[in-house]
Amino acid sequence: MARFILRRLVGMVAVLFAVSVLTFLIFNVIPNSDPAQRMAGKQATPELVASITKEWGFDDSLPQQYVTMMRKVFSGDLISYEGRENVDEKIVEGIPETFSLCIGAAVIWLFFGILFGYLSAVRAGGWLDKTLTVIAVTGISMPVFWLAAIFLNYLTYKTEIFPSGGYVEFTTEPIEWANHLILPWITLAILYAGFYSRVLRSSMLDVMGEDYVRTARAKGLSEQRVMSRHVMRNSLIPIVTLFGLDFGALLGGAILIEGIFSLEGIGQYAYEALKNTDLPPIMAIVLFGAFFVVLFNALVDIAYAYLDPRIRLGASANG
């Protein structure tokens, strides 16, 4: 087990390294942005540009620049080109918004996704199933930012049911915190809930046709027990793995939702940085996001081994 974890860790580091190199290269291939030029501003003199170049090390070789930047990422000294702010601090500031958004939406989408998926599966073929499927497929077929814009228009601008965005600290005012997040949560959750309900439905239908469910009934178990201990236990495995991957990816910031609802989270910060082709924040955010993706990937693998003993012990002992 320890060796497995060690190998995973090494793999994680390798992937993160590759991601950082890739990011660095993409941004150093940009034809137009000489960061020194932009930092010097409108009144730039060649001397100013040169001194900035020297100060920031833009004349160093690419590998050298890369090493310097990576060092700064981890030591907390990373300063953005645009606005000269400390990147790590800004990211930390953005965490409450992003995490509140993700966790709240996750709770909602898991609840509805699993509920709808379950109902669809046990009443497969019936009108409830068909209705829920229509809702689910529609949910996953719309552009999320479009839905957000429409919600904002009709639920906020026109009717003022919900606030128009911005973030309120949970610690200061929990109710307002939730109030401001409800629309973003729902917008985000609709997409995932639709998806998860279909995955669960499909998974449950597969499991319900398995031989061991037939055996469970033949043993005389109550239907309730057959469903909970045999059907659900096995059907939820793909949901768990999927959730791990989705949630991990989401923690890196939901750019569109944060943007539209004016939540100053990491996604929003990322977007600003991208527009300004500001490499330091981009690098840090990409690594931040990639870290969570990779971390949750590993967690999912571990959870999967726990949930399915066949994986745990490798191939079966005898055929």
């Binding site: 031989d211 055996t215 005389g220 399915d308």
Partner: protein, 346 residues
Amino acid sequence: MASAPLLSVRDLRVGFVTEGGRLQAVDGVSFDLAPGEVLAIVGESGSGKSVIAQTIIGLTRSPNSRIDGSVQLRGAELIDADDAELRKVRGEQIGMVFQDPMTSFNPVYKIGWQIVEAIRAHRRDIGDKEAGEIAVEMLDSVGIPNPARRVDDYPHEFSGGMRQRAMIAMALALEPDLLIADEPTTALDVTVQAQILALLERLNRDRGLATILITHDLGVVAEVADRVLVMYAGRVVEQGTLDEIFYDPQHPYTWGLLGSLTRMDRERPKRLPQISGAPPSLQSLPQGCSFRPRCPHEFGRCSELPALDARLSETPAHLDRCWLSPEQKCELRQVEGEIGLEAPAR
């Protein structure tokens, strides 16, 4: 049947609605099973044998199925029994073993846990610990070595034969009087098959366990059965005692099955004998006798479906579904000195 039968099946009919249309998987099957008796139901896939087995404990109930007839366990009707009654019967009075032990166990739970689950579903009064001990005993009684340790293993950690033994242990954990084994050896190696059959035989002998053994293999039947039911396209075509079926078979299909058995005590045939053709599609059965298209001895009268009757006065319990006279049968069934079925002359 000296005493009252344990299981009494009368005119059982099971029909399904499928993608391709309606079909009658079981069409009027009747038999009795005495306590401690071993009945083998033999047939090819599609003959309806598994459907009978599963219908007895109500596993075929669904919106797509139509079940008629009567199945009585010690006089209690099972066909229209409600779910609660059926659940009581399953496991406690009738144990069932399925064909593929790998997929028939839930892969994520330990074998012991699954046996305990079966026990405690019916006997809430037995605690976890005690149920666990029973599980170990059961594994031991079916011949699994080191049962105390293996009770904590997962299904995929058992070999095929051991898994099937474990299935049998689980089916018998509550000491039912009847065991239904649906193709218990089909998914196993030949050597392991023999072991499982020996186990079933021992259980039958030692515990007086009535057994319904479903199989496509007459060779398997010869080891353990007291009586045999031969199925074809959803109907019984012959039924009788083991000796009657093997030494005095009355239906061409049975002759074909017997003839295609490879025998160690005879010379090797130049060609493996088989019954030519294939079983009919249940969605479009031929008129009259359903075996007719494959039967070399068919004649005019076969366009009328033969009734399942006893045609030999000395053995009133030996039934068959063939219009040929007993004398004709004795003659026709001899192929190259053995009982068998010639290929049809077409």
